[in-house]
């Protein structure tokens, strides 16, 4: 039985030499047995795996890996093609997989830190952040806020704002009261609507009970400002 599977390993990978003629089920059992035997040796290892001696379908590969996960503490990071089974190439593959795994938290290209400012930003004042930006307070007309990432304003936005100033169109601007003079997201720019003739914009009637939290983002080559809802937040 133990001849069905021969297990070889180096620092980064495990090579399984599988019997070509036995049934898949018996091979699977043999693999589980092998890993249970060497449980202590492999303890919590993060490795790549390669299969040899037998052509496996994707389903079979997957069920083998699941079986290994279930019956041992070995973590299989990736499957290595048989053509690249030298230790060096295995190492490279495993390390690059590890590196991408550690970057999962912020999605690719997204900045993962933020700056924080509390207070009213007044006309002539500006804040530039290389990350995300959180402002607790109002951004008054004439003030300028710019960030490489997203901008979150817990207050009224009445000035100019630029999210994704390095050209990232996927950024968003969030404000408790959205009334910017100009809004820029990545490569897109939008301005506030011109004052309509005869329409008085001087006083905002009932402003106190009409606070609507809004979010601005790029969709279909245009900047949209919409009330915040769960479905919008999910898609951002």
């Amino acid at each position: 039985m133990s001849d069905l599977v021969i297990l070889k390993s180096n620092r980064y990978g495990i090579n399984l030499l599988l019997d070509a003629n036995a049934s898949f089920l018996s091979i699977q059992e043999a693999v589980i047995e092998k890993f249970q035997e060497s449980e202590k040796f492999f303890k919590n290892a993060k490795v790549g795996i390669s299969f040899e001696g037998r052509t496996l379908s994707h389903e079979e590969e997957r069920s083998l890996i699941e079986a290994i996960h279930e019956h041992s503490s070995v973590e299989i990071l990736c499957i290595i093609d048989q053509d690249f089974k030298s230790e060096e190439s295995t190492r490279q593959r495993v390390e690059s997989t590890l590196a991408t795994l550690s970057q999962v938290q912020p999605a690719e290209g997204q900045v993962d830190y933020g700056d924080y400012y509390k207070g009213t930003l007044r006309s002539g004042q500006s804040i530039v952040s290389e990350g995300n930006l959180i402002i607790v307070g109002d951004v008054n007309p004439g003030a300028h806020v710019s960030a490489a990432g997203n901008i979150i304003i817990l207050g009224a936005l009445k000035g100019n704002v630029q999210a994704g100033n390095t050209g990232d169109d996927s950024c968003f601007v969030f404000a408790l009261q959205m009334n910017p003079i100009q809004i820029q997201i990545g490569t897109y720019i939008a301005k506030s609507p011109d004052r309509e003739k005869g329409k008085r914009r001087i006083r905002r009637s009932g402003k106190d009970n009409l606070i609507e939290v809004q979010i601005a983002f790029v969709k279909n080559d245009a900047i949209y400002i919409e009330p915040v809802s769960k479905s919008i937040l999910k898609n951002i």
């Binding site: 007044r122 006309s123 002539g124 004042q125 109002d138 008054n140 007309p141 008085r200 001087i202 006083r203």
Partner: protein
């Protein structure tokens, strides 16, 4: 030790000088020893509003350049013995004075006066920097217009950056009829944007123009604007004074109109 208040606005023509004259007069009426300094070098007019133009011999720049003693340049008010004016120079410009020199001058005056009022020029350049250099607190004057409010916002930002802790807001030239029609911001709209303490609102009153032309500040008299300025002075001293109802119904016709509205 006296308190130094700078009266500023950013935008021109909103009533800084009128406010300085009236606040100075109002504080003098409350038995405080007050000196008003016109820091608008080259465009002086506080002396005109106070009606003291003809008494100027020496001015602020003369004092700074030590051409005269400080006492010689101080002008006594006509009515109030405890009210003084230090006029600015008309033939010089803002660069004649540096912020350090202003601070030194103000510290000299601090010992003798209860209140030192600095009438700041419009703009945010040298003149503004001179005026705010020695100030303890600021009175920001604005009118209920978007342009004036925008400038006031900028000024408040600069004052905060210069670590002037106490900033009060005066809304000038309020027209209640326009506010009612929805054509003008009301006081709440302004304070909502500027987010600083409101010290008072002054109605747009033709008596203000008349008093300016006569060179007699109206603080304390029975006009609505005069009352408003008096109340502002009391609030500067720290008193709690309720805000005036600026929406005064005028005459029999106005009262009739009000009756009809109610029905």
């Amino acid at each position: 030790m006296g308190e130094v208040i700078v009266i500023t606005s950013g935008k021109g023509g909103v009533g800084k000088t009128t406010t300085t004259a009236n606040v100075g007069t109002g504080l003098a009426q409350l038995d405080k020893k007050v000196v008003m300094i016109d820091t608008d070098i080259g465009l002086r007019n506080l002396d005109v509003v106070m009606g003291l133009e003809n008494r100027i011999v020496y001015n602020l720049v003369d004092v700074i350049e030590e051409k005269c003693r400080l006492k010689q340049a101080l002008i006594h008010d006509k009515k109030y013995p405890e009210l003084y004016l230090l006029p600015s120079a008309q033939t010089r410009d803002k660069d004649s004075v540096s912020p350090e020199q202003m601070v030194a001058l103000i510290n000299q005056l601090r010992e003798e006066f209860d209140y030192i009022l600095l009438d700041c020029p419009a703009g945010i350049e040298q003149g503004f920097k001179n005026a705010i250099a020695g100030a303890d607190r600021a009175l920001v004057v604005t009118t209920p217009e978007v342009s004036a409010v925008r400038d006031a916002d900028r000024i408040i930002g600069l004052l905060e950056a210069n670590e002037i802790k106490q900033i009060d807001l005066l809304v000038n030239r309020l027209r209640m009829d326009m506010v009612k029609r929805g054509d003008m911001m009301n006081v709440d709209d302004v304070t909502d944007i500027l987010a600083v303490n409101l010290i008072g609102a002054v109605p747009d009153d033709e008596h203000v123009v008349i008093s300016t032309n006569n060179g007699e500040p109206l603080a304390g008299n029975n006009t609505l604007a005069g009352q408003a300025y008096s109340n502002i002075c009391k609030r500067i001293l720290g008193e709690e004074v309720p805000f005036l109802d600026l929406d005064e119904v005028k005459g029999v016709f106005g009262k009739l109109k009000e009756l009809f509205k109610k029905n």
